[in-house]
C-alpha cells in the first residue's frame, strides 16, 4: 500500500498497519472457518450472508470442518444452529475440543424436514451461522428451495453452510469446497488410529477460468 496519498507522507510502521478499504470490505464479508489453511483457500473464510457448501465422501473431514466453523462462530459471540439429519452430533468430542454446547441450537430431524427447519432458523434472524448437515441424507430438493434459502440468508445476514456427500447446490453456493483423498493414519503396532489427512479443493464456480483450482492439505487428529 502506498504511503503517499495526495502528498501525505505516512510513517512506515503506521502504513504497515493500515488496511485498504477494499481489503476491509472483503474480510468483513467473510467469516473464519476456524482452520487457517481453509481460510486461505476461501479468501478469508466462508462468505457471510450467503450459502456455502462443503462436500465429500465419508471420512474426509466434512464434519470436523463444520464443527470448526461452529466453534469459531460461537467464540465470536454469534448465535449458531445445527440442523442435524439423523442426530449424528458427537457432543462429547465437541465439548472436549472446547465448543460451548449450550450456545448451539441443535435440531435433530429427518431429511424431509431439514430444509424447512433451516428456513425457520434463518428466517428468525440473529443467527450468525446455520449449518445444514446432509452428509448421510438422501434428499431431493428443488432448486427453488436453495434459491429461497439463499435469499433468506442474504436478507438476515446469516451464513448458511451445507455439508453434503456430493455437490448439490451448484451455482447457488457462493463458495464450495470439495474434500477428497482422505488418508487415515495409524501408528503402532498394535495399530492405533491417529488421524486423517485430506485435500480440500475450492470447487469450480461460474466465473472460475483457471485450469487448476487451488487446494490445500488438511490434517485432523483422532478424537482420543
Amino acid at each position: 500500500m502506498s504511503s503517499r496519498a495526495q502528498g501525505l507522507v505516512l510513517d512506515p510502521e503506521l502504513t504497515a498497519r493500515l488496511v485498504s478499504s477494499e481489503r476491509l470490505a472483503e474480510t468483513r464479508g467473510r467469516r473464519s472457518s476456524g482452520i487457517g489453511p481453509l481460510d486461505g483457500l476461501l479468501g478469508g473464510g466462508w462468505p457471510r450472508a450467503a450459502l456455502s457448501e462443503i462436500f465429500g465422501r465419508r471420512s474426509t473431514g466434512r464434519t470436523a470442518i463444520v464443527r470448526a466453523a461452529l466453534a469459531a462462530a460461537i467464540a465470536a459471540g454469534e448465535a449458531t444452529a445445527l440442523v442435524d439429519t439423523g442426530g449424528t452430533l458427537d457432543a462429547r468430542a465437541a465439548a472436549a475440543s472446547g465448543l460451548a454446547l449450550s450456545a448451539l441450537l441443535w435440531i435433530r430431524c429427518a431429511p424431509a424436514q431439514a430444509l424447512k427447519a433451516t428456513d425457520l432458523v434463518v428466517a428468525a434472524g440473529g443467527f450468525g451461522l446455520a449449518v445444514l448437515d446432509l452428509c448421510d441424507a438422501q434428499l431431493r430438493a428443488p432448486d427453488a428451495a436453495w434459491v429461497r434459502l439463499r435469499h433468506a440468508a442474504r436478507a438476515q445476514g446469516t451464513t448458511v453452510l451445507v455439508a453434503t456427500g456430493t455437490r448439490r447446490l451448484g451455482s447457488f453456493a457462493a463458495a464450495a469446497v470439495e474434500l477428497d483423498g482422505g488418508r487415515p493414519s495409524f501408528f503402532g503396532p498394535p495399530p492405533l488410529f491417529a488421524g486423517l489427512g485430506t485435500r480440500a479443493t475450492r470447487a469450480r464456480g461460474a466465473h472460475d477460468r483457471e485450469s487448476q483450482l487451488p487446494c490445500v492439505s488438511l490434517a485432523f487428529t483422532s478424537r482420543s
Binding site: R58, R67, S102, L105, A124, P184
Partner: protein
Amino acid sequence: MRLACVYVPQLALQAALRRCPEVHGTPAALLASQGKNKPRVTELDAEARRAGVRPGMTAAQAAATAPALRLFTATAADAEAGAAALADVGYAFAPRVEREGERIFFAAEDLKRLYPAGEPAIAQALQAHAARLGFGARVALAATKGAARVASRAHELAVVPDDRAGARAFLAPLPVHLFTDDDDLRAAFRRWGTRTAGAIAALPVDAVALRLGPAGAAVARLARGDDDEPFHPQLPPDALEEAVELDYPIYEIEPLAFVLRGLVDRALARLSGRSLACAGLTLRLALDPRGLDVREVPLAAPTREAKTLVDLIRLDLARRPPEAAVVGAHLIALPARVRATQLDILRPAGPAPDRLATTLARLAALVGPENVGAPAVVDSWREEAIAMKPYAPGGPWSAPIPSETRLCLRHRRPPEEVEVLMGRAGPTALRGLETTARVLVAAGPYRLSGEWWQEVAAGGSWAREYWDVHASDGAVYRLHRDARDGRFYLDGYYD
C-alpha cells in the same frame, strides 16, 4: 386523600361488547334469564333505547322493535373478564384498587405529579384508558368514596372539591336517586319534598336517622359532605384472566385460533396498561358436551406481541388438537416486567427473544419438542449418550477456538447391528444396511463397560469391545461388539 372512581354503567353489556368491537355504534342489548322465565332484556345501550327497546322485553319483542338490534346473552365468563378488565384500568394508575361491582376506586393523590394540568386531566386520562380497554366509563375524583360514587353517576367527568364545604356545594343540586338505590328511601325523601341533596343536607341528621334508620342517616351525612366509608384497596392478582363462552361449538383450529386471538388481544391490552408483558399462557378449553382441555404454552421470553402468542397457541393446537369441539375458552396470562437488556457493543445482538420463542415453537411442532434444544453431555461412558436441554441464548458465548482440529464421530443412534467377519487380528469385513466393505486396518479392541448397578432390561450394565476400522470404501468406522451377546454394532464413522 383524593380518590378516583371509574364507573362503567351496564358493565355486563359492555363486557360483552368488548368481545365484539365491530358492534359499537349499533343497537345492542343484553339478555339475562331469571329462573325458568324467558330471558329478558336487562341492559341496553343508547342506540337500542333510541330504537325503542326497553328493559324487560323478551328477545322476540326486542328484535321486532329494532331489527338491527344485536342481542348478547349474559355469561359468567364475560362478567368475570369485564370486572377484571375494569380493575386493570385502575391498576394502570395505582398499585392497589378497590373493586365494587361496576366501579373501582383507587388513590389518585400521586397522579398529580404525572398530570400537572390538574385533576381534570387525570379524569380524562382515566376515561381514555378505559376506552382503550373497551369501556365507556364515567370518572370522578373526590376526597371520599361516597362523593366520588355519586359524582360519577351524575357526570361523565367530575372533580369534587377537596374541602367539605365545597363538596357539599357540589353535591347540593344533585337529585336524591343518585345517593341511594333503595326505592323505599327514595320514596320517603320524595314524600318529605326533599328531592335534592341540598334539601337533605338542611335536615338534622339525627332526625333523619330516627325516621329512616342508618341508611337514611348515611345519605344525609353524604349530602353534607361527610363520609366515613372505609377504603379497602387490594393488590392485583398474580395472573390475568380472559374468558369467552362460544355461541356454538368450534371443531376446526383456525376458527378457534381466531377466537383466541381476541382473548390474547384483550389480555395484552390490559398488560400493556400496567407496563407488563406476558411471560406464559395457560389455556383452558371447555369441550362439548363436557370435559376440559388444559394446556400450557411456555414462552422463551416475555412478549407483548399478539402474533407471537397466537402462533404459539396455533402450533400447540396443531400438535395436540382438542379431543372434542370447543365451547368455551379461558386464558390465563402470567404477567412479567420487560427489562431492557443492555447489549454488548463488541458482540453480535443475536435473535430477538420473541421471534426466537416463535421459531423454537415452530421447530418443535415440525420435528418434535424432544429434538430441539441445546446438546449436553451425559455423565456416562456410553459413546452415543447425549442429552437435550432447553436452548437459552445468552449463555457462555466466549469460548476459546480449539487449537487443533479434531475428527468427529458421526454417530448412529441407536447403533446399527452389522455382520462382521473376524480374523485373528480383528475384523476383516463388515456388512450392514448401507455398507459392505473389507477391513484394511483394524485398531482395537478397546474395552469399555459401565452402569453395572442398573438392570440390563433398563438399558444398564453394558460391556463392549470397540474397534476403529479402515474399510475398503475409504471410510474409518467405529464398531463395537456387545460382550453380552457377541453381536457387532456400527457406532458411526469418523469424518
